[in-house]
């Protein structure tokens, strides 16, 4: 089962993401919790891509979700500046309030809610592929 869609590097496009996830929810009968996790992963990664892109240059971001058995494969392809989120350092979540920073928190959350990450730069495009093992009820 596969869903794919294209958005532009504009934060208002997050609404398109929500519409697509609603289609997914109905078609794949996902639990509220699983859907919220998938949404967070995509939201954080796409927001990051958009915020790191050149706002003056419009470029598309292609997103696909493929479900095979218990495995969900998410692929995000964009023609923005080279950026490998798999190299991002995780924030220290044990620091006291005064020393806490928010940098890297989005990527960190996306990692926590998914299982395997692969990054590739090909033909001037960032290609991020990640896998999420779905809970039993979705297999």
């Amino acid at each position: 089962m596969k869903i794919s869609f294209r958005i532009n590097n504009d934060l208002a496009e997050l609404n398109t993401l929500l519409d697509q996830l609603q289609v997914l929810e109905q078609r794949w009968t996902l639990s509220r919790k699983t859907l919220a996790e998938i949404c967070l992963v995509l939201d954080e990664l796409i927001t990051n891509t958009i915020e790191h892109s050149d706002a003056d240059k419009r470029h598309p971001i292609d997103i696909s979700l493929i479900k095979t058995g218990s495995k969900l494969t998410i692929r995000i392809v964009d023609a923005g500046l080279p950026f490998d989120p798999t190299l991002c350092k995780s924030p220290d979540t044990n620091l006291p309030l005064e020393q806490r920073r928010c940098g890297g928190l989005g990527i960190f959350l996306a990692r926590q809610f998914s299982d395997h990450w692969y990054y590739n730069r090909l033909n001037d495009k960032n290609i991020l592929t990640l896998q999420k093992i779905l809970p039993k009820e979705h297999r």
């Binding site: 934060l11 997050l14 996790e37 979540t93 309030l97 989005g106 960190f108 959350l109």
Partner: protein, 114 residues
């Protein structure tokens, strides 16, 4: 996202409903400007109807907690839905932000402070 602001007893309650993400965060941050600059009442974020929070929302919560750290006023959050609470816990925010189970708990903490 919708924000309902209630003021009572030297406490301002922001009741959020919907989604706090990078799309809605700037507007919420704007509403909080005066509180972040100089806290002048206690502040409670009521998350009872908040379905979703991303790192953009966490950033605002963190900045608010920092603004309230030094003054004499309390800042707390309350009534989180399961997924929102999970995001707080994974980020380690449950150890730096006050989280109450209900708005009543938040309000009685304020009363005890007086």
């Amino acid at each position: 996202m919708q924000t309902t602001i209630t003021k009572a007893d030297n406490t301002t309650i922001f009741a959020l409903s919907g989604r706090l993400d990078s799309n809605s965060a700037p507007q919420f941050e704007q509403q909080l400007q005066d509180f972040l600059r100089e806290p002048s009442t206690h502040l409670v974020f009521d998350f009872n109807n908040l379905d979703y929070i991303s790192s953009a929302g966490l950033r605002i919560v963190l900045n608010t907690a920092k603004a309230y750290k030094s003054g004499g006023y309390l800042f707390s959050t309350c009534a989180m839905q399961e997924h929102v609470q999970e995001v707080f816990e994974i980020s380690g925010f449950d150890s730096i932000i006050t989280i109450h189970r209900s708005i009543d708990e938040s309000l009685s903490a304020v009363k005890q402070k007086k």
